[in-house]
Amino acid sequence: MIELTDVTKRYGSTVAVDHLSFEVREGEVTGFLGPNGAGKSTTMRMIVGLDAPTSGQVTIDGHDYRDLRFPLRHVGALLEARAVHPGRTARNHLLWLADSNGIDRRRVDQVLDLVGLTEVAHRRSGGFSLGMGQRLGIATALLGDPATLLLDEPVNGLDPEGIQWIRTLLRSLAAEGRSILVSSHLMSEMALTADRLIVVGRGRVIAEGTVDDVVRSSSTGHVRVAAAQPTALSALLRDRDAQVASEPDGALTVTGIDARDIGIAAAAAGLTLYELSPGSAPLEEAFMELTRDAAEYHAGAITTQGAAA
């Protein structure tokens, strides 16, 4: 169980994390989602005691990480940046980590096997591909058989088979009762692996809940309406500040007003409706909508030089 209470982290005048509060519950995969620069990595670094929060509190099972002795037995972390000396073999890297936390050295071969690195265990990690590096990072995280796992962008650099493997691994680790926090900037990935989502932007929580909750809370939910008098209906809905688009089959796609209010408005105006179906935006759209104002960088609108002249 990881708990963040009103955590803020400033680097000089930059606020990386801004009064962030959330918890990661046991037996669940919690997806930590946000655009680049949203403060995900900083938050993870604070959870494992590498960076100290400017204010607020981060605890693991009620303890400050820096008070944990042999923390690898409680929390396993795969952080975004590499933390391996390139001149040391994968196996030796895991060996010193095992030593540092009083973990049986036999566990090293177990985790190497688990992540599929047994064959390259005696090769120096400097020559590893991105995917192999990720697998070594995951082996590191699993070394102490921890009840809590933090994985920052674990699918980065993995091939489709590796991505599938991570998904299965996460599900089975959660099924064993562990708390897992996985960050990603890919919404689609989270839809497949996470039980709950925490969406952040500019260091703040924008949305939190189940995947369905998050999609519903975004304002991109749209309603498909088929009416006997579509022109009259669109005028009516536009008067209520809704956006209306016509579909090729004559139906309307309406956003900015929910199905219930469309029904009431239509009835009041005496318009006949054939169809009124709320549809949710795909997760990716919901994410874009939620984080649009919070993204650190936007692609500028492409303008044609000289068009204004």
Binding site: L50, A81, H85, L97, R178
Partner: protein, 280 residues
Amino acid sequence: MTATQITPTADTATTRPPTPTDARVFRAAARAEWTKMRTVRSTMWTLLAAVGLSIGFGALVSVTQVNSWDQLDPAERLRFDPTSFSLSGLFLAQMAIGVLGVLLISSEYATGQIRATLGATPQRRTVLAAKLATFGSVVLAVGLITSFSAFGIGQAIFSAKGIGASLGDPGVLRAVTGGALYLAAVGALGLGLGTIIRRTAGAIAALVGVLLIIPLVASFLPASWNQNVTKWFPAQAGMSVFRVAPDATSLSPWTGFTVLVAYATLSLVVGGFLLVRRDA
């Protein structure tokens, strides 16, 4: 949330041993440092180079000195220090050991491994202490081998003229053992500077500056300065521990060594303070 107990949730977690003691955390950290040290090739090569250079250079100096013996006047013969000559290779070895001390931590910052280290042992002062203990022991062992070998070879060369020292002579055993202690202290100073500065290049520059450049610059100062100030510099103070013939411009052996240890301790205390305060 008032529960403060660490609640093991995974099946495997229920058999966890009780909270380890400070001593156990330290021993584990030291064992990890030992594993780290012997699993990167450069460490062993550097140590081997230090041993080889020291013994070789000591022998070279001994040969030159033994050849000059016949031209020395009686006063010069009185100050002739065969022990110190045979150990002159330590002057070279100190750079290798000091740089190794710097790299012990600066290379962790360079590769990002420091995040793994401090993540595994968040008791950061314990990490620094474990590095010091492990590296210090290795350097002491290597230093003793180097020092005694260099002494033995040097005295074999001096014995040709019957002017060699023996370990039973006054101050000689202290000087030969002191050579190893000197290396360990310089290694500790390197570790301290590496912890403060974090960047390899900067920390090595600082080390070379403190050990070699500042005394060199000071030698351009007036003689009174030179005598009163230079002897307090880390290298000059520390080197008095492996000199047998008394030297008016140096501190006494143990005072000098204590001064060097004080510099090393200061660098480690400041380094430890910064290590705890800074984000990794």
